[in-house]
Symmetry: C2
Amino acid sequence: MTLAGKQLIGQQAVTANGAAIHAIDPATGETLAPAYPGGGKQEVEQACALAWAAYATYRGSSLEDRATFLETVAAEIEALGDTLIQRAMAETGLPRPRLEGERGRTCGQLRLFASVVRAGEWLDVRIDSALPEREPMPRVGLRQRHVALGPVTVFGPSNFPLAFSVAGGDTAAALAAGCPVVVKAHSAHPGTSELVGRAVQAAVAKCGLPEGVFSLLFGAGREVGQALVADPRIQAVGFTGSRGGGTALMATAQARPQPIPVYAEMSSINPVFLLPEALKARGQAIAEGFVGSLTMGAGQFCTNPGLVIGVKGEALDAFLAAAGQAVEQSTAQTMLTPGTHEAYQQGVSRLSGHPKVREVARGQAESGPNQCQAGLFATTAADFLADETLQHEEVFGACSLVVECIGPDDLKRIAEALEGQLTATLQLDDGDLEAARTLLPTLELKAGRVLANGWPTGVEVCHAMVHGGPYPATSDSRTTSVGSAAIQRFLRPVCYQNLPAGLLPEALQDGNPLGVSRLVDGKREA
Amino acid sequence: MTLAGKQLIGQQAVTANGAAIHAIDPATGETLAPAYPGGGKQEVEQACALAWAAYATYRGSSLEDRATFLETVAAEIEALGDTLIQRAMAETGLPRPRLEGERGRTCGQLRLFASVVRAGEWLDVRIDSALPEREPMPRVGLRQRHVALGPVTVFGPSNFPLAFSVAGGDTAAALAAGCPVVVKAHSAHPGTSELVGRAVQAAVAKCGLPEGVFSLLFGAGREVGQALVADPRIQAVGFTGSRGGGTALMATAQARPQPIPVYAEMSSINPVFLLPEALKARGQAIAEGFVGSLTMGAGQFCTNPGLVIGVKGEALDAFLAAAGQAVEQSTAQTMLTPGTHEAYQQGVSRLSGHPKVREVARGQAESGPNQCQAGLFATTAADFLADETLQHEEVFGACSLVVECIGPDDLKRIAEALEGQLTATLQLDDGDLEAARTLLPTLELKAGRVLANGWPTGVEVCHAMVHGGPYPATSDSRTTSVGSAAIQRFLRPVCYQNLPAGLLPEALQDGNPLGVSRLVDGKREA
């Protein structure tokens, strides 16, 4: 399959004439063909007009049709075969097994949403029966369901070229909810984006859906993205990326005549608390698990464990020694982009040059371009608490800071000082339960997900997952970007009062023709 | 019971020293004692500090304790007896039966939320079992529940001194969710607010809850309200009132270092579509029902039917004649405040002076202060569509505009031109079903609630209610301010991954000790 370097607008492939973006192979520094001339106002207008037109039909599509569409997208992505994996490898420097795994996750995610659409829990059907005899006033019947918010625009990050990108979590959730999607491709993997975009286009055609259900725009800089968020037809935004990028979109969304929700997943340092008994009993194993999580994929995960907190003493010293040794043995890995590598180098330099921070270990260096040499640093609780930059700054990549506490009270103090996080982790043994119980209420307020005896990397796509958390981890802690509950972010409730049976949407009709779970007069009917 | 004119901060009654507010009896213009000296930064600081301290305990209170607390608030409000009704009558000009009904609704609402808390649907419990044998990677167990967002600040409107005020819908929903509440009292009914605030204070004490669960602040101007919304401990805002007031709070909430959600219910003109067959068959009855809804409570409802759309012809002429006659016979009613009356007069003047609008009828005039003389006006679809001010401007009070369409296509055109609404109503007969089916998809996108053959005033407090809708009807169409689903606006999800049984919150424990509905491996267990 030859890459065309064009905007995918509905079923068309359109040549734009803005400044072009080029993918770069981060392992070699080589520029990859083709060029992707950037879109502008015209392409945004076309994509949004088609999305709005498609919305009327698509949001009313049957559960079965919509589920089949999601499954068809998955099949079309798989049908791209090794072309997709090879292009993604070239554009990201990520190794084959990782990308094959990510493709599996992406397609599994689309199929999970297909099952979610069919089950119909997301409709949140509520029926309050008419009470014609009620005193002093009778009650007419009221019924509620959820409907699609409207066309959604999605911005993916560089680090998940498949699972959070063109047909990733936000796109799958929005399509599942009945929202057309306009994706702004990440400029680091345009070829991967085009391939997946064409797979979605093909699925739209095969399923006979209106073409505006999906478009994919390319563009250097922020013009296309900002224009999409400002467009009156766009009704919600999904974003994964930097805090600067997310807050810029939030500002645009709020400044619209009609403000819209922005779901931005931004930054997190993912604290790990090493509780004393666990540290004493299995510090070596914890150190190995930690460094495995830290260095996996060059640490380029939003759930990378960037902060470790333990109480100073022999056990923590042993942990530091073991972790340091593992870091030293870790080989360099190619980072996603020159920009990511540059930012990583700056972040590591800030830590190594910080007067209150000491270097514990650095990983193996490598002479090629964009190599991530892992870094492990340490500081004291007092110094950490005294310096907000240490508390707030995510170094994106394989870099972590160990905070040495004087006593157990410091653990709580540090938990309380943290900003909102995607995750918080406890390493604990039976003897640590009381200490964990003390920390847990604070961690619940700081993070969307609390883990025990695991590592935050590797986000399961399931029903109970929360990949979210208080600001600035995300812009909206009331929702998740991974897992089936993500469908809810693209829905709103509508109440139908006293509507004749002939006008009621199928989900709300007597006899429950869709067979969905309903709350009838306050009682759950499974 | 003597009114003290003090801020209620936790269990204390505190004399503030800011500019005082005084209630005014709108029927007489008389100033009512006592004065309420306004609070300032110090009172905001105290209330927020107490709320934050209470949050840790209160959010963890048992479902039964929290439900009992809500029921105790209801009982304490009822125990105020006629003192409450008399003071509310004096402060609002609303008649006794209306206020007695509103008290019933307020207490019923608190008891509904008690039942909602006990049922535990709001926890949205999700359990994904561990899959230790899964290939290529095992899965650990993941469980999700919802937790309280944090302390909430509530701003009530003037028109529901009980049901949307100190212990109204937002307060009840937030308390049900486990959030402490700091209410900024509406300056039009400070005495009513104090009485209800003391009832809540008493319930907090009786139930042995931390005092910061509830505080009530008074203040002239916007200082106290803005300081509350800017306070870092406040995590969400409930507001009912004007578009200007709501958008000012939204701006403050967005400008915080940590932005927070604002649920502002602002403005709506609540279109009513008169479909041809219904209009022909029962225009007279529809006209009477319409004017009853229009003039009830001097039209001072956010769901007041401010816009009526029908196709020009004999039937619409007959409707207009009947409605006009009913309006002419309607007696004047005292409005809530001099400010409300002033704004109403200005709104009516804008319509009566509008070159494209004709006056159909005015109600009876009355010489006392703040009298609402109902107004019915008419214009053409073309003129309506050509003038955004006619489309957007709510005249708060008994005033409505009838839009005469040339043909049925105009109905849809007008529906599409409208901003977001709380409600949209269809008057229809069997022969109108096809026309209704054409309109319905547009109405669903414009309104939170779609009604047939009823009137939008009289919002049922139940499970299926949506009192919400797209901007500018509210700031957040994903939620409702009336009905049991309102609890969701004050919650966020947390995922617990691989937590030892001894650390799991009760809602998530094996054996389902709370007996709540759960989604287990994607299957609903009622």
